[in-house]
Symmetry: C2
Subunit: 163 residues, 2 copies
């Protein structure tokens, strides 16, 4: 099923009928390969939503949701639909199962990601808002997200060198 180019005309859709994003990650290498087993369907964008995004995201065995990170101004939330990922935060590891959820408050500084260490698929919903002026911290990796000359996000080394 294709998405109507005018999102207003779409009343409802099976989430799995939303096409996966063509470009799986914006990370530079070697980081992009670490999320190569991740697939995102932008559910909110299918309806033209602009204030927050909702993705239906799948992690193949061995995949991670993202590099472990925290946001300065944007809240995030996840709800597990299938599988058993491990949530990794500054406090350690928490095993998750379907029906569990977690929220990551903007500015808490508590870096987080999901890791699929099992042999089954992980499927979850993720929500994040679009508050301007956000910055992202990656405590485990030599990566910084900076505003590029086009006004969009670009990735760089933490000392500012480009990838």
């Amino acid at each position: 099923m294709s998405i109507d180019p005018n999102p207003q005309n779409l009343a409802a859709i099976a989430a799995t009928d939303v096409a996966p994003r063509a470009k799986p990650s914006n990370y530079p290498e070697p980081f992009a390969s670490r999320v190569s087993g991740r697939q995102k369907r932008a559910l909110g964008e299918a309806f033209g939503l602009r204030n927050f995004g909702v993705n239906l995201t799948r992690l193949q065995p061995g995949a991670i949701s993202a590099l472990r990170h925290s946001h300065s101004r944007q809240d995030e939330f996840i709800y597990i639909l299938e599988g058993h990922p491990v949530l990794v935060t500054d406090q350690g590891e928490t095993p998750l199962e379907p029906g569990m959820c977690a929220g990551f408050r903007a500015g808490s500084g508590n870096a987080h990601h999901l890791v699929n260490r099992g042999d089954e698929l992980v499927v979850y919903l993720e929500v994040g808002d679009r508050t301007r002026g956000d910055s992202v911290n990656y405590p485990d990796d030599d990566l910084a997200a900076v505003i590029g000359p086009d006004g969009g996000w670009q990735f760089a080394h933490k000392d500012g060198r480009s990838y």
Copy 2:
């Protein structure tokens, strides 16, 4: 399980372990009774999120999600987990099932709600942001949401008379 008073310390939780809201609805009568079969668990608030809310909401048979309404500035999104509600919008009725989702873009003017006409429970996730200056339109009912003297929302008749 009780929620930690400091949301930052909660790594993850089973969504059904979040306590339902004590006050089921802010609507005045006769509208409050129409949503008496609705139960909301504020998942995002359990983690101290402020930019958007995520609720795990249950509709008993016969219950509606809300009066049919549209928001001027706040986006909304739903994802069906259990049951078969009917989505009612300006375009008509759309039967939903688990795994289906719908988004309601701010300012579209397309009023919407869910109705549980079946004999089984409906469970869904709902997301809405907290953009300021929002107003809500109820095309089917004599209800208007206005800013009260305390700065919070109050309900009134459409001619301004209080309930």
